[in-house]
Assembly symmetry: C2
């Protein structure tokens, strides 16, 4: 892993300990797939970063400057991998009040590509940790992620790949680090992210490009009787689900056309690219 911290026009290897990203999680982040040395869906990620920054009132860095530093960092790690971009409100003394003259901190880091998904489909469980209903923070990819940490800490069985999370009112929201689509009544449905959860880039692509795909309110019983499930995120693409708790779905042909469409639009997600 390599990392750079950009502040006031300089690139460094370390973070100041008084950064509000540490103090309060006062920032947002993006995690991009890197394919053949290039970040995938850069515009979509940058636009979501901008939306998140607007919601929180964060100062914005210059896109070209950040992209330039990203490409410099990626030059060291050719091929496939992951690029993470953190944007924080920068330095601010003690106290929650955002400084009027805040200057952004940007932390860039590169990471290995994720492992290939489990052959035959993912194996999921239900998380006990719930997602709190907070419309002010829903949808954006902010740095307050203790709920995800607690949910992911619930298991270390290597046979379990991911967990589905509900909100405090028993609506299914997403997996810990991916969005969820379910096939019900011949349509692909995904939960709303207006009360909690993250509006994933892959989820947005699917909603825009899969005929009939829609947002719907879903409970655990509906998930269990779905005809097929998959998870998705912008680093791993579409991940078919084989098992959720006791329920098992046989190898399902419904997901294959979606994977083919995604691969046609973004070759980084083609089979054999993992």
């Amino acid at each position: 892993m390599s990392a750079r911290v950009l502040r006031e026009g300089r690139a460094r290897l370390w973070l100041e300990p008084e950064d509000r990203g540490l103090a309060y999680g006062d920032g947002v982040f993006e995690t991009l797939l890197v394919h053949r040395g290039q970040p995938v869906w850069w515009q979509e990620h940058w636009q979501r970063l901008v939306r998140g920054a607007a919601r929180l009132g964060l100062p914005l860095p210059d896109e070209n400057e950040v992209r330039h530093e990203c490409m410099a960092l990626l030059a060291e790690t050719r091929g496939r991998g992951v690029l993470k971009i953190i944007l924080t409100r920068g330095i601010g003394g003690r106290g929650y009040a955002p400084p009027a003259d805040a200057l952004p901190t940007v932390v860039l880091s590169t990471h290995p590509a994720p492992p290939a998904p489990r052959a035959g489909g993912l194996q999921l469980r239900w998380a006990r940790t719930t997602l709190a209903v907070q419309p002010a923070l829903a949808g954006i990819k902010h740095l307050n992620r203790l709920e995800q940490v607690l949910a992911r800490a619930e298991w270390n069985d290597p046979e379990v790949d991911e967990a589905l999370m509900c909100d405090g009112e028993d609506r299914v929201v997403s997996a810990v680090a991916a969005n969820l689509f379910v096939l019900l009544g011949g349509r692909w449905l995904t939960p709303s992210v207006e009360r909690c959860g993250v509006a994933g880039i892959a989820r947005e692509w699917l909603l825009a490009n899969v005929p009939g795909a829609a947002v719907a309110e879903l409970n655990a019983a509906e998930i269990s009787r779905a005809d097929a499930l998959f998870l998705c995120n912008s680093v791993r693409g579409i991940l078919p689900v084989r098992r959720l708790g006791m329920r098992e779905w046989p190898r399902d042909d419904a997901v294959a056309p979606l994977r083919a469409s995604l691969a046609a639009a973004q070759p980084a997600f083609g089979d054999g690219e993992h």
Copy 2:
């Protein structure tokens, strides 16, 4: 301000950018009043830090080592001030799963003492931002504080000192950076922190030491018809409230005996010590 970062037995001036405190807010913190060069309520703060770490499954640093570094840092800033202690899960690659072998990061920093409270009592408003109901995180002082940042960003009128926050179900919880007590029917009542909010050290002291003080469910109407209000936290002690929105409380003698009791127990909170 001075700061030290403690990791693996070494003290440094900077933070590694891959710290999980930044990535996910994966940690807890304490903010201590420093009086005559000594941290006030050290044991109580340390115990709360330990409780928060246990809830999140964080590795614990050695108390004596942390206290030793705190005292070294405070030697530079004699007199009155504030000491902040952040504990994080340390370094962990990309991904929410807590590393099995995590080593804690401790960030210490010193800050100026807060200004003396407004003569005649605080002036409060109601925050529009609500606190999400999340029992898994309620009570502890974790690093996921975007709700407080958003609430504090709602005003910059210097005539407003603090804001009261409700949860998503219209229960009053606390101020942005302080707990709340209200005098109703002759008893001092404070909201529960089992669904959201922080179990403040001053709040705990008051619940244990003020006859009849109790936890109660309170809505906005009840707050407005209370006979007296005050805020409290471990840095500023007891802060009488003069105004909340349109409602005004005349200078109230009900709070004075509590302030006297607190000052008797902790001379750092005596009048004239600000």
